[in-house]
């Protein structure tokens, strides 16, 4: 077997490497989506406000509703003057945008962006009763680890340093105040965000997003939103605050309360900007993985549709394709929802922000954890052993 490896085996070996999967995920899925979001946000806000928005960027006759605006933006940012204030701390000033951007890109490693692919079975219908040969499985998750969501919290906390250091290194009082607002806000909401996912952890018995998706299965009534509805609302609110966007955009309200990257121009600013949009995509991916079944399509099992006794068998490649597109669709929907919220709600006052974080979200998420724990314990007592973590 080892001696005569075909080119197909080598191809799968490359496809299964973490570096390749990360590259594929970031540069072919996340970056294009985040770049398009910079345009989509302006177009969507325009449509919500009865305007048309930017629709004119074109290459010759190719106009495509102005989608190419993100190319124009990138060219503009790259060709702008790279200005550093005279008294700024040059090293930290350069480091800050990287610290804002890198953690999000790293955190994507835990996202299960597709089902496990069995390359040798692509043209067959998977038989659920027979264990599939797992040695040739390509898992669509870069870093599958038991402490998955903790890894996400740990890594994204580092993004906090990006904003704070940007504010401090700029040698600008307004930027410093913005950086302080950013760090206080992100610190406050991380607590509620972590605790809201604890309820999900108690129910599903795992912190690994890939296992969470498998636990949820193809039945929409068994997904995270149904078993942990309060956690969904709490997590979504706290996570929007984490991305520092309206209604929680106090760290950088562009027109009035000048934010932490006021001294940044050109592509340095572009990195903060891109980091914000990648965080939107990341949050959408986490939301769909934890609460909306990830790549699970309703009633689509590995061998085809099962619904109320009806079974439609499908080859493995078709199932995989549908599940990939399902995940993409869910992510795009939650990106859209976040943009809609951002253009609907006015900004909070700082005291309202802190009040919401510490006096509402934190007690409610603690309550959610306690009630969930009680229910899980009672169910376990009465024999529902599948709620416990798989041993």
């Amino acid at each position: 077997m080892e001696a005569n490896k075909t080119w197909v085996d080598w191809l799968f070996w490359v496809l299964d490497s973490a570096a390749f999967k990360w590259f594929f995920l970031i540069f072919l899925l996340v970056m294009p989506l985040a770049s398009l979001l910079t345009w989509a946000e302006r177009r969507q806000s325009a449509m919500m406000q009865d305007r048309l928005g930017p629709n004119r960027a074109n290459i010759g006759p190719i106009r495509l509703w102005g989608i190419l605006h993100f190319v124009a933006d990138a060219l503009k940012m790259i060709s702008k003057e790279d200005f550093v204030p005279e008294k700024a701390h040059r090293v930290l000033f350069t480091l800050a945008p990287i610290l804002a951007l890198a953690p999000v890109l790293i955190a994507f490693a835990i996202i299960p962006f597709g089902p496990t692919i069995y390359p040798h079975e692509l043209h067959h219908v998977i038989d659920l009763r027979v264990a599939t040969n797992a040695t040739h499985a390509v898992s669509m998750q870069v870093y599958s680890v038991e402490f998955g969501l903790l890894f996400y919290f740990a890594i994204l906390t580092l993004a906090n340093y990006g904003s704070t250091i940007a504010g401090w290194a700029s040698y600008n009082k307004f930027a410093l105040l913005g950086g302080l607002r950013a760090s206080s806000q992100m610190m406050s909401y991380e607590v509620a965000m972590g605790l809201s996912l604890m309820g999900v952890f108690l129910v599903m018995g795992t912190l690994e997003p890939g296992s969470m998706v498998l636990w949820q299965g193809p039945n929409p009534l068994h997904w995270g939103w149904a078993v942990q509805p309060f956690a969904l609302i709490l997590f979504f609110t706290a996570a929007i605050a984490e991305t520092k966007r309206a209604p929680f955009d106090l760290p950088e309200g562009e027109p009035e309360i000048i934010g932490y990257f006021v001294e940044y121009s050109g592509m340095r600013f572009g990195m903060f900007f891109l980091a914000e949009f990648i965080e939107i995509v990341f949050l959408s991916a986490v939301m769909s993985s934890v609460f909306f079944g990830g790549w699970q399509f309703p009633f689509l099992y590995a061998d085809g549709f099962h619904f109320a006794g009806w079974v439609v068998f499908m080859p493995h490649w078709a199932v995989v394709l549908i599940q990939f597109m399902t995940f993409g669709g869910k992510v795009v929907f939650f990106c859209w929802l976040q943009l809609a919220i951002r253009w609907t709600l006015p900004r909070f006052r700082p005291d309202q922000l802190m009040g919401l974080g510490w006096k509402r979200l934190l007690p409610l998420s603690l309550l959610n954890v306690m009630v969930t724990a009680l229910i899980v314990w009672l169910l376990w007592w009465w024999g529902a052993r599948d709620l416990q973590p798989p041993m």
Binding site: A46, M47, M48, Q49, D50, L52, I233, A340, T344, L356
Partner: protein, 199 residues
């Protein structure tokens, strides 16, 4: 001020329930807090989202409420009395109607009109403008020149904007240009000239 159990309302501020007999600064007031369902922000968020999302889908699907005018391709017609670039009106024979009476440069608040009069052989008019220039960069588009003109020689009804120019000197438009935009006026130019004395 005596202690009053009757609730009194002050025009500004919260409702005063009672006032201390010792000092009218010590008062019991009723604070109106927002109802619990409002302070949770959730219903208001959903209500707001329903409005914006409704607009979003209506505009994405039908563009029915979009107010935007796609400017270079699509222009909103100006109102009839819009004041645009100046033009000079013509007589029946195509010559300029202006008699260089100097009313418009006199009334012009921006001093943008230059007229150099010259004598004409036409028996009916004494002068004509040898030079008639308007600096459109200085013009404040007030329309007083049109009001002042006694013989319907200058109008601002072209509907054109002052052109974008690269040098200030190019912002000055001359007589021929303005006359080229002009047309024959149907207004009767008064009098029959100095010849009436001969009658």
């Amino acid at each position: 001020m005596s202690h009053s159990a009757q609730p009194t309302t002050s025009p500004s501020g919260p409702e005063v329930v009672s006032v201390s007999p010792h000092s009218d600064k010590v008062r019991t007031v009723r604070v109106v807090r927002p109802p619990r369902e409002d302070s949770s922000f959730l219903p208001a968020t959903l209500k707001g989202l329903s409005i914006t999302v409704k607009h979003f889908f209506k505009n994405v699907l039908t563009k029915s409420e979009v107010e935007t005018i796609q400017y270079p391709e699509e222009k909103k017609p100006y109102p009839a009395r819009n004041r645009g670039l100046h033009r000079l009106m013509q007589r029946e024979d195509g010559t300029v109607r202006c008699v260089a009476c100097m009313c418009c440069p006199t009334v012009c608040p921006a001093n943008c009109i230059t007229i150099i009069p010259a004598e004409t052989t036409d028996a009916r008019v004494e002068k004509y403008p040898a030079v008639f220039e308007i600096d459109e960069l200085r013009c404040v588009v007030c329309g007083l020149c049109v009001e002042a003109c006694p013989c319907d020689a200058i109008r601002m009804d072209t509907g054109l904007h002052a052109p974008a120019v690269e040098e200030r000197a190019s912002g000055v438009i001359d007589k021929d240009t303005m006359l080229g935009m002009g047309s024959r006026s149907i207004a009767v130019q008064g009098g029959v000239g100095p010849g009436w004395r001969a009658k």
